[in-house]
Symmetry: C3
Subunit: 155 residues, 3 copies
């Protein structure tokens, strides 16, 4: 892909990157080793504040999916801040999705698709990743979804 591609794709998808997230505590939002970038778990936000909720209780699967999509856009924004150019992304390698859910909710994979599908839309084949998704007891600040990513950059 040429540099214009990803930015044109974002525009075509009507996706605006968000301001880079700040860590909630004593860590950084991204750390690179070799050509792998590890992004911290990003919690879902809505209108700049924490998107709280628990799947199976106070949120529908569709809302969770929208939250996961919002996290993915924040992850892209952090990745853009880290790389300076999203066209340096060679591959979204691995996604881990933590869904704040009750012991009865079993659609964590559908919630997580909100992020996975965005990566596929933006990066095409390079957006196809290995993934784990599961239900956690609770998330920092009561967020409904937290997602971390491992990304390979081109040399």
């Amino acid at each position: 892909m040429t540099q214009s591609n990803i930015h044109e794709r974002l525009k075509a998808l009507d996706i605006a990157l968000s301001p880079a997230s700040a860590p909630a505590a004593a860590y950084v939002m991204s750390a690179q080793s070799g050509n792998l970038v590890f992004l911290s778990g990003h919690i879902a936000k809505k209108n700049g504040t924490v998107w709280q909720g628990k799947l199976g209780e106070s949120m529908s699967t569709d809302e969770g999916r929208a939250a996961a999509r919002a996290v993915a856009i924040d992850l892209l924004s952090t990745l853009h801040a880290h790389t300076g150019d999203l066209n340096r992304v060679a591959r979204i390698v691995k996604v881990v999705s933590l869904v704040n859910s009750t012991a009865d909710f079993t659609d964590h994979h559908l919630v997580t698709n909100g992020a996975s599908e965005l990566f596929a839309d933006v990066f095409g084949d390079a957006g196809k990743h290995a993934r784990s998704a599961f239900g956690v007891a609770q998330l920092p600040l009561g967020a409904c979804v937290e997602i971390e990513v491992c990304v390979e950059l081109s040399e």
Copy 2:
């Protein structure tokens, strides 16, 4: 090890690889970066369908251990599909095991041994891995165990 070793070992252990798993959603079962392969979280299956249950409630530790072993065989099957030859495995590097459990169950490590011991049986020293195991609120489709793995291939 020569190529015949791993396949003979599987035969000696009476382990038949399963058909490659299909992703339940918008992702792929394995993604490689350099010589590291990241396998998606695989959920436990029994007779081809999701192996549901919650440790501490509807399943014994021994049953959980059998489920973790079944997941490990599915992971090997995906790895075989990815590599074309399991003898290319240089090391099972890292295992993360998510056990669907109540807030009272504390034997996640014994459940997870079902997978860890299989890797050690099949690969010997190359199967000895770093590992995290813990109890989650719930898993996709109600599965009892989900395991992901990071594997190093030989050059």
Copy 3:
């Protein structure tokens, strides 16, 4: 940094490394691939035995933070046993922190700071890592906190 730095820093911080941890089950405490070392999830210990507790129920955030700091020291001890010299650490790349918590507790990030701040104190900029922290239903042996780390060594 020169070799004396890290060891002098540990001394200045009054941190004594612990005896290397033994795995609770069929795995190893660290596995290396290339120059990345993956440390197994280490559960919190106090006076050599498992530090049990659940945040939001039987433990305060401050106690949890102390437990996370204790885990970080055990992780450094394992890392020392693995490397033979902590000055070979180029970067603490990634931390995953599993906090045993109720469905009401939302300060997992503050608990985890006990570990993150220790890494920053010991390694300076090289201790700044990407991180995910979240609440799990339960941990092996009833531990209050479990933390795993990915570390880059210098060539």
